[in-house]
Amino acid sequence: MFTNDDSSPDQHGEAGFQALLDAAVDAIVVIDCRGHIETFNRSAEKLFGYSAEEIRGSNVSMLMPQPYRREHDGYLARYLETGEARIIGIGREASGQRKDGTVFPMELSVGEFRDSKTVRFVGIVRDITERKETERLIRQQQERLEHVMRLGTLGEMAAGIAHEINQPLTAISTYAQAARRLIDSGLMEDDRLLEVLEKTGAQAERAGAIIRRIRNLARKRPAQRERHDIARVVDEALRLAEVDARLHDVNLSGTAEPDLPPAWVDAVQIQQVVLNLVRNAMETTPPSTSIMVETLCRSEEEVIIRVCDDGPGLDEDLISEIFNPFFTTKTHGTGMGLSISRSIVTSHGGRLEAKNRPDGGATFSVILPTAMNEHEHGN
């Protein structure tokens, strides 16, 4: 572009080009086809801590942390050979390493330019430490809020949970007292005693399983997505929800299609969503009615968790508002449940939808992408 300058094409062009590079806010690095640095602008000097002089001629891989440093020559060679681009023309988030060894997140875009003899690459680098930090803080706040909501849910379920743990405790203590009496009166046979001990153990397991589920949900933890069988994730949530169903005298049932494709999810977050939807349904559903939770799959790409109730259904005028924060129709509601549920589902790349059923009652559908393309979601 500067070469079109009529007055002094070469000199002015060179200086003008340098001025342009140095004025750029982003770091600009030009390398030759073997990865050796040719141009290193002022922002690059500031960002990486090397002077242009000292770094010129070095392999650009020294600006990267491992394992990229090790692999970069290979990328370059493969691109030149096959044209298969990892970054070129795409732009992506990557990591850079400064002279002092510190690593920072950066946004990198790469272009190439050719003359008759050779090919060069220009890399434009922006430090996104601050943006990442903001994102991290937002995520942390969100996780905190989710955690508080989970604790709130468990708090509301406390009476039911206490009842549910009391059942196996009652069985254990009664078995023990009955066994002692039978032994005292010489009526206990060995076989029977063994059987009672086994039953007692099973009841302790039962109480333990309830506590494990609660602890899992109550734990403060960063979101962690893994490949999960979504039917099992839903089932775990339903086992907790059953506690409440019994108190509300609601018939809660769950069905799952066989062989559902796995999903890439944070299990606790999805359980939180299911629990929230089921408990909402329970509060609007009259006693002795049913809540159905179906897990199904419409295509290879999506699994759906559907919560259907026999309640009065949703007010059509309000359907668009129910996901708004602080929107509630309950006297004791925070109005955060559905809002958080939706943000959890959205962060999984899914959708949360509400609809009235033609024959009365409401349906909430959690639609999640399957783990077919999990490498896109990972890292």
Partner: protein
């Protein structure tokens, strides 16, 4: 345990939807040499219970389908005498108090001490036996009363109120001699050997 010496009659019916609790309760009753039958729901119990079988009921207040209160009401409507011991979870105390107001013999919180529950069971069985005997006696006395003529019933009513034959004769506009004959018939038919006994029998009918 003070009452263990008397051999209680009747069956302990356990109704609880929780299988292990039901199973453990059955075993506890068995360990105290009590006859026991258990049911997973109020409906299953009602379907198989003949209203005159002696015993008592151990009932979980909170059950899906028909709850403990509804079962109690159903038993009342069938005129079944079974005393009920409600067993409750932790948060159910107000419910249990309500149960007591509505005629439960007792309530007991889970988990319980075996003595506490077995004491209550023995009390309930004893109460059932007593009520049964009373009901039986009432049935017999009522049957006798029904053999009286209308005039004899009038005379009996006036006699047990403490009226002298003379007064009764005036009230009914008959001779004193006629009253004496009615009175003798009443005593005979009711099987009473004294006025005091007749008063007692009249009390049973009034119950």
């Amino acid at each position: 345990m003070n009452m263990a010496t008397e051999k209680p009659t009747g069956t302990v019916f356990v109704v609880d939807d929780d299988e292990p609790v039901r199973d453990a309760l059955s075993m506890l009753m068995e360990s105290a040499s009590l006859a026991v039958r258990s049911f997973e729901s109020a409906k299953a119990f009602l379907d198989s219970y003949p209203a005159d079988e002696p015993g008592c009921l151990i009932l979980d207040i909170r059950m899906p389908g028909m709850n403990g209160f509804e079962l109690r009401d159903e038993l009342l409507s069938r005129n079944a005498l079974l005393p009920i011991i409600f067993i409750t979870g932790h948060g159910d105390v107000p419910m249990a108090v309500d149960a007591m107001k509505h005629g439960a013999i007792d309530f007991i919180q889970k988990p319980f001490r075996d003595e506490d529950l077995l004491d209550r069971v023995h009390q309930a069985l004893a109460r059932n036996e007593k009520e049964r005997l009373e009901a039986q006696a009432q049935g017999e006395v009522t049957a006798r009363f029904e053999t009286l003529t209308p005039r004899e019933r009038e005379v009996m009513s006036l006699v047990v109120q403490g009226n002298a034959n003379k007064v009764i004769a005036q009230d009914l506009g008959v001779s004193q001699r006629t009253v004496e004959i009615h009175r003798a018939r009443v005593m005979e038919k009711m099987g009473a050997r004294s006025i005091a006994q007749l008063v007692q029998l009249a009390g049973i009918i009034d119950k």
